[in-house]
Subunit: 288 residues, 6 copies
């Protein structure tokens, strides 16, 4: 490993240098929306899990919210499911939502739990169906089981935190009629973090953050207020796929999160660096 | 419904007649191994869920352990997986154990959770991987990921009970290397019930119980001690598929369960009848 | 018993049919003012006690408030006490209030406690003197120790509930000078239920409920708001002995009870039927 | 009052002189069997109540067990009940035990509770029927409802102590068939104190203590071991009415009480003097 | 001792006479600012400690705040420190504040703790530096380390009370830069008592209380409101050294103390007499 | 600082590399005997305090035991105290022990508390007199107030840990007569760590550890069992000033400490390096 040339004395210095940051986040709630490359690349995945367990050990109340990455597509392909679209959006029929449920709550969720346990953490994996965590309704009848969140019952998450677990959450929703819904992961993370008045929400992406010139990483905007973010829509700087991402940040702030960071999940240990050093990564959005 | 002709006065009588049974199980741990027809037939499934929620409401600490029923086979078929056997036992390769994990922890588990919530319960679905509940090792190297339980960490289950949830458990196991194992559901239920010193373990089956003459339901043996059960092996009365089932009962008693009932899951509300009336169902096994 | 012809399967159906009602009252406070025929008729008494214990077992926080029935008169007769009246009201001298205290707190209270224990409950009997539960002053100097409630200290009742007992309360009051007062049972029940913001108060009587035509049980009014009840005074439908009874209902609502039911104690298991089935009994009064 | 000539400075000295005694009994369980003259004489009664409340306030866990004094006889006389005897013992028929229950649990108990409350204490009065505190069976079939204790369920008493009350206990017993029994007060106190491993049991009597020469108070024996006490039976020094009293002391020690004092209830504030000064009163019995 | 001629019966009377006062202060917070003669005279010191332990034993939550008496001067003299003054106030250089810290937190504090332990109490000695109890800044740059309180963090005191200790507090302050400050003891006591909403603050002094004619003890003013106290400034009755003392009383009332007594520490057991008898000592100041 | 050339990515790696060590000591009790150069050199002092606060933040239950370093001598010199010796040991008269008390409990203790608070910790400083933590008797009458520990009452330390403080302990002792004793710091640390069954005791010294050749640091013995340590006495490898130090290690192990490390306090961050990296420092002694 490339830290082999660091002496133990230097290691100790590094650890004590983290003191004020550890103190700052001790006992605070931090929600991580995990996805993208950091979920596919095996090294990055291992590092994210290490970061989560470290934060858990030093007293941060960490919650991991995950989407499904490409594994849903994989299983759909294997099962020969052909995508159908209405108004440009994918139709999620019963069979598809079953696949989503199996991949998210069965495969991805449990694999993450197992990784966290192997790193020394104590994790429990749940979905939006457990304890009716995420209640939903159809977003649009034509789209089938694509869900819009109607209510978040945060008790299952706080119960697990009280018992000392790292809650790992699959973003599927349920309703009182027994239906399951596919829920957008970023939105779910924003709702959950908001309901818990989280100190911080990390939105892991595969971009550097918000760039003033999207082709020049040096133009990254490190810090934004909600008002400034809205202004960026008008200026066309936030556009395309960034719009729903930034919408989620703003929604999270409105629902009670202290600050949200759109973070580059491709950078090793980006969570730790953001929380425990003076070098922020990506773009942080805060209230006005 | 066929109780329409029962007056409310009679209903009240029935309720108060259940008093001594309610009192007996109040605050006690009861583990239900759910499977077979009761998991396939929609009416039976609804009734089992009603029974579980009722018991939970009247103060029984109920734990639901489930297998996967035919849904694992369904998905394997759809994915074109061909069964392979070694010494007459199915080889479970990595792909197969992934399917098992997805179906059990993703599909069946969450569907049961949702049903319990719809009936008015508060449920949380976990697997043997959450909080390292079930640790396992390969039973036989040739069989791949067929697991033998090495350790049960019961804390996740007791944590959920303390927080007021009905724990719903998928019987997959894990090890410290990140492997997942397919675990026999009856065995897992016996280990879990034993680790909790459960008052009672229900083994739901599609048979009447243990019959002295397997073709004559009237020869059912309602009550057996462990010694008597062992004697039945010698007499050939317990044979074939019944052997592992009765083995599990004996194992559960040895591990600390007060009594185990092999119960006919095809009978509506068989759990309630066994617990709350004077009419036992199936065969009860107790220590000597 | 007349439920002998009900099968165990039907019993199970009846039990699960009670599920939504059990859920509704789980953890809620229900106060029962017990009196009249249901206190004299041995069968009815047994059934009321069974109902109370059942409700207690399924998690209702039940409080039993009782008067003295005819036993006070019995002892007075035996002791040769002659009734005296002022303005048509019975004068309660020191000797009489001692008799009331002995019969209520000594005889009736302890006998009810014992019955509840025999049915499987855990009960503790107290009076308005214990923990200064009911403080009173003379209602009218000429009447002696007939008391008017000045204060209810509800702590003794909540202490017993917290410790898991069914509180059984004799309605006698005390003051800071060491006097004991005879307190009207209905009024005491209304004050106690109000102080606890009870979910429900049952007023057990020997009538069907409030009838529009007092000679025709089919004219029963099943549901009344406080305003509607007041209107019935004007219409003369609530009159005579019903006036103080309905006054108590209204008082209870004003003091914080969610709803009050004037219930026919002559009907077997009337409490259970009201709480656990869809068939209400008597007349329910609620706030506007 | 005869302490009018004591200055406040002296009062303060007296209070601080009690310091080591207060410290010794802080948080300890002390059971007082209250009876005899101290229950009849109004001044003595007031002083006992003051002593109890003072001990309660300074952190002693005090439990008051009372008999009925002459009030049972009073009511029996008024009701024209004639005593019947078998083998020299009073026959207690159903009517008599009802009278006992009414006088003890209804009259004496509540009056003591009220006195304690007036002195500033927080008291709750229960009987051996509440929470099945005292279970009993007939001592001798010919005697009717004279009870022999079969079991003491101490939970109701500890529950009240935990909630901060002074438990006041009437010594009547119950069985599972609904019968009530008249229980000897000294025996009940010994059983209750034993079940709680009380630090001290006071047996209040109308004698000086155990005298070597029963006509000479100066021959009082201040301190006895159980063995020495048994020796006194042989010597005839413990005889007649003293025998059951001393039996109770020995029984209490055997059941777990640290020490028992046979105390002269005719001496004002005898409890306080025994506990808070260096002047013991009566005869103290301890284990060998 | 001069109470030798008091009988044990009289002692018991005295103890029970204290009942209403004990009841009044049970569980209440009482802060004692200890200083003056009562700290120098060995007999008085012993008596104050006895009073404190007695109050602690009878359930008062007592907090002892102390200054340093003449011991600071002693050590300064021994070390040859010469006093310097600016504007008539003593300059406290680094060396002096070190001496103050050593004498207060090292000598006086621990000696008091030891005395309380010897009397049977359970005490823990802390200073304004522990848990940042007293944060301060320089009162006047020219005076060096004479501190003005900027913040009181009362948590260390409540933590010790919860754990059952008598907190003994040295009045030195700290800041975030590592400086120590000499804090006026009366002011610190007023701030601490205020932050705890104490029931009572005792200001121990070497005067009788506030006298209308300072040469005539019989003109003591036993009771004052804050407004009346302020009026006394104008009348010149509060003047000289009394001004800061009375300022502290008023400050304490404003910060939330129920009442403050300026008490004559030269009178033996003055605290007990004030709290547990009907004879108030000194001058009590209350809100308007 | 010499870690300026370490990137944040490397910092993150270093932090996660500490994961297994953090996990190992989470919730465990670690006692640090602080003294020697690490107490005099300002940089080392700051680093030790940082290490302590870091360990506290990551969930170690850390206890700091300190001696007085050269500050006691300083004050003695200033006060003109001349050392006296008996049998080669320093006589500690009343005046000397007062100086020790003032310097340890007043100066050193509070200064350490303040440093810990400034680094972000929550600390409370106590001495062996608080809560009678260290009871002692004279070691040798001729030596005056040099104390030998007779009893350790660990409750004050566990109370502070439960309330979340870092206990900082001055090693002075007390007896029931009000005497103060000067206690050897190493011995006190061994007793305290033993009474708490600490996971680890650090003995900070100014040597490398135990060297096989005292002039050659490369001959350090990194790991010793108690038996091996005793053998080193015989071999003369442990000799002179090392004897009492090693005696303390052995005593600590006997009293219940899991392991003791004689550590070189002159190495920066030696505590962190020992606990959180794979590079042990000094000599570790464990049970056989």
């Amino acid at each position: 490993m490339y830290i082999d040339n660091i002496t133990n004395a230097q290691r100790a210095e590094v650890l004590t240098a983290a003191l004020p940051y550890i103190k700052k986040y001790y006992g605070k709630i931090v929600v991580v929306k995990y996805g993208g490359n950091a979920m596919i690349n095996e090294d990055l995945k291992q590092q994210v899990m290490e970061d989560i367990v470290l934060l858990w050990l030093i007293g941060v109340k960490i919650v991991l919210v995950h989407g499904g990455g490409p594994e849903i597509n994989d299983l759909m392909n294997k099962l020969g499911k052909k995508p159908q679209f209405v108004d440009g959006l994918r139709v999620t029929d019963k069979e598809t939502v079953d696949i989503v449920q199996m991949v998210l709550a069965g495969k991805v969720n449990k694999t993450l739990v197992n990784l966290l346990e192997m790193k020394g953490g104590k994790a429990m994996g749940i979905s939006g169906m457990d304890g009716c965590l995420i209640e939903a309704k159809p977003k649009n009848e034509k789209l089938g089981f694509v869900g819009e969140i109607t209510k978040v019952n945060i008790e299952p998450v706080t119960d697990l935190l009280e018992k000392g677990y790292i809650p790992v959450i699959s973003t599927i929703g349920c309703d009182k009629k027994g239906n399951t819904y596919n829920i957008n992961g970023d939105t779910a993370a924003a709702y959950i973090a908001g309901a818990m008045n989280a100190e911080k929400l990390f939105m892991m992406t595969d971009i550097d953050g918000i760039l003033r010139d999207k082709d020049d990483p040096s133009t990254i905007i490190p810090h934004l207020t909600v008002s400034e973010a809205k202004q960026l829509y008008n200026e066309g700087i936030v556009s395309g796929g960034m719009i729903p991402k930034v919408d989620c940040c703003i929604e999270a702030i409105h629902k009670g999160v202290k600050n949200v960071t759109i973070m580059d999940g491709r950078v090793p240990h980006s969570i730790l660096m953001e929380l425990l050093t003076d070098e922020g990564a990506g773009t942080m959005v805060v209230g006005d």
